[in-house]
Amino acid sequence: MSKLVDLITNTWTLAVLCVVLALAAGFVETGTVQMWSFVAINILLAQSINLLTGITGQISLGHAGFFAIGAYASALLMKGAGLPLPVSVVVAAAISAGAGYLLSIPAGRVREFYLAMMSLAFGLIVYELAREWRGLTGGVMGVRGVPSAQIGTLSLFGWVLDSAWYFRILLLSLIGTMIAFRNFVKSHYGRAFYAVHVSEIAAGTLGVSQAATKRAAYALSGGIAGLAGGFYAHLVGYLTPESFGLMRSVEILVMSIVGGLGSLTGQVLGAIVFTYLPQRLQAFSDYQFMAYGLILIFVFTLLPNGLAGLLKTRTRYSKFDQLGGIGNASPAVALTQRHSDKAASHGPLIRVEQVTMEFSGLRALSGVSLDLQPSCITALVGPNGSGKSTLVNVISGLYKPTSGRILFKGKDIGGQPSHRIAAAGITRTFQDPRNVPSFTVRENILMGANRLYVHGPLAAALNTPHAKAEEREMLGRVEALMATAGLTHHAEDIIGDLPYGIQRLAEVARALASDPELLLLDEPAAGLSEHEAERLVQLIRMAADHGVAVLVIDHHMDFLARLVNDVVVFEAGEVIYRGDMDGMRSNQAVIEAYLGKEEVSHA
């Protein structure tokens, strides 16, 4: 089975198939070519919703709205303004992308089901406007006489396009879009989109802005659906609102989910199945609504990963395969060597000044002040509920402190959003590992490097030499980190299937992949085996040796004793001790915090 899938998804097989289809288009019946064109359009639609729903996790129930905007825009631009096919289709895609961007404005602030309902409303509004705005769309009568390949009225710079040539142009556009889309998805952008899907909070701490990412996903998804719409308009030559109702949105969603959300191959399969099924099976077409309804109800229970999951094909979210491994281009450096003595002359790396954090009256931190130096490993200990994690959450930007300042390299970062703080060089891990369960260990750790990438989306989509070199460099870092963490033999394993300890180690490695200046670890050793804890110590030491300031929360004193230079003890939101381990053990306040006060009895 997997060999068959490998054969089907092999680049050469696909290239040969495309050439055969393009040639054959001239010899088969027009109806067949039409069907092929519909398949191509549906593949675009499925990929478009896959980007938004499958990869970024934003459910779209009104995708026909984007499709309609693209179709009407291209039809009217060509019919009214006389624009040639390539221009009208591209402009239509841009207009549709604009609609997607506008739709995403509230996206940064609300949870996903609000957006799902909004997308449902969006689809309905576009449909209603197509019906009511007669001056523009022709109302329920629709737009007639759109230049179309089917009836031979479509021409490109004087050359009349027949159905076969139209299909060839469409196929070429599809291939181009698919290649660019694949490269994009495998870049740090694709990983950022997926990170937002899995955990918005964790995405923020990787330096990914969830609002900006969602906006980009909506715009891009709208653009691809608009492109499909443009091609649809010139395929059929006649647009009515009824082609863009709720049923169409549901159809697009069904294609994508049955194909397999998140998988690029799955979308192609889903589009093929649901283009041919209603054509070939009369019964299916009679009960289409009911069938789609049942599919949506049961698909996640019966076929959670769609056809792609059934065929065990998985889209990889890194360019490791495309680059043919990392080669031996550059010697692998896990971390940048920062000189600790130079930084020391400028004062501490981070200075927490009188920070207070209150949650509706409950004071979790009261007037905490703390300095951390480069290359220094500091333990943060204290009883449960003493405010350790709260401090980490405040520093990493998940909470906005009630008062006080946090100076990172002399700049106040208190209250900034977490993605800005991560981008500035502060990375953290969580008490419970927040990896992407469906990613491999390599892809997860590579996600950590997100903030270091400089190449833009276009370079990522086109796989420019610069983009490739950068990806290769980051993969090299990841390789070095995996070697130190002892994860090399797990590199290609899906992280969700691995034991807990390995997942934790991978999370710490991911944090280091961001090449941070300050590393905040929240109970990294909890649940680790002896051997894994040793690997963790090595990772943390390596960080400190490279000039990273490390703050470790943990309860495991033996683990801390062989690791840290310095201990801070918290009690009820205040610092009660700072110094070395030995001093802490004999400190009266610390003993009281842990064991309680000794009763003074007057006998």
Partner: protein, 294 residues
């Protein structure tokens, strides 16, 4: 002036129905954090069954009662096949898709059974030609009846939720499902109960809206679902009073814009309002802000 009063009256009337539907949406949202995307089709089912039964000679009140029972049962089935299995899936993807699917299935079934054409809805309360004079304007008695019935149901529900044992259960489960289970509250029964009642409210709302609109067709509920959702969001998810204020506000604005600007603009009102509220104040007028636990 007459026109203004008529518009306000019809706005209040549909707005009260939005509140009723919104309360049904809220009920299941409280107990399971699930919003039923198929609720629109349940409204349609309630109205459609009443219309079809009456057309075949069934007594009007019996028909309404039967359609309410069927609506409640539909939600019970939705909970069983579409909601419970999906709570295991992280995030809202699973239940959004499955409840939407349930709605689509109902819509498809209705088209298959009764055809896609609109069916005339019988006069259950008064005649559509009955009017009374208010401040010089003639207002349909049906509008007033729909408004009064909706507000009374919302009020009774609010009272029921605050005073009855089951109401305490709903609020306890809404507050913390696990804690409620530990305290001996039969969470399953409370959840199923909330779906049954939500179905009743949806069926009643369907009958009331169909009474005003005069016809019902398989696509009937989608608009109402979206408008009720907007009303709920404007008022604040999880607040019954909010639903009522949001519903009435939306209903009146919608009718005024429809009357004075254009019907197409009225379509846009709800959407613009939804985007604006979600952008400016996502928790709505009466809701509490979502706290995110790290």
């Amino acid at each position: 002036m007459d026109f203004l009063i008529q518009m306000i009256a019809s706005g209040l009337s549909v707005g009260a129905v939005y509140a009723l539907v919104g309360l049904g949406l809220n009920l299941t949202f409280w107990t399971t954090r699930v919003l039923n995307f198929g609720q629109g089709s349940v409204l349609m089912a309630g109205a459609m069954i009443t219309a079809v039964l009456v057309a075949r000679g069934c007594n009007v009140f019996l028909a309404v009662a039967l359609s309410l029972v069927v609506s409640a049962l539909i939600l019970w089935v939705i909970e069983f096949v579409g909601v419970r299995p999906m709570l295991r899936i992280r995030g809202s993807m699973g239940w959004v898709v499955s409840t939407l699917g349930a709605g689509i299935f109902l819509q498809g079934s209705a088209s298959w059974l009764f055809g896609t054409q609109a069916v005339a809805f019988p006069d259950v309360l008064f005649k559509s030609s009955d009017t009374i004079e208010l401040l010089g304007a003639y207002i349909s008695v049906q509008y007033i009846a729909v408004f009064v019935i909706s507000v009374v149901i919302v009020g009774l529900m609010e009272l029921f939720l605050r005073r009855s044992t089951w109401g305490y259960g709903v609020r306890a489960v809404a507050h913390d499902r696990e804690l409620a289970a530990l305290m001996g509250i039969p969470v399953r029964r409370v959840v199923v109960g909330s779906f049954l009642v939500s179905g009743l409210l949806a069926g009643a709302a369907g009958v009331l809206v169909a009474q005003v609109s005069g016809t019902v067709d398989p696509n009937f509920g989608l608009h109402l679902l979206i408008l009720s959702f907007v009303a709920t969001v404007v008022g604040g998810m999880g607040s019954a009073v909010g639903s009522l204020v949001g519903g009435l506000t939306l209903g009146v604005i919608e009718k005024l814009v429809g009357g004075y600007v254009s019907p197409a603009a009225a379509e846009m009102v709800a959407f613009v309002l939804l985007v604006a509220v979600l952008t400016i104040r996502p928790q709505g007028l009466f809701g509490k802000a979502d706290t995110v636990k790290v």
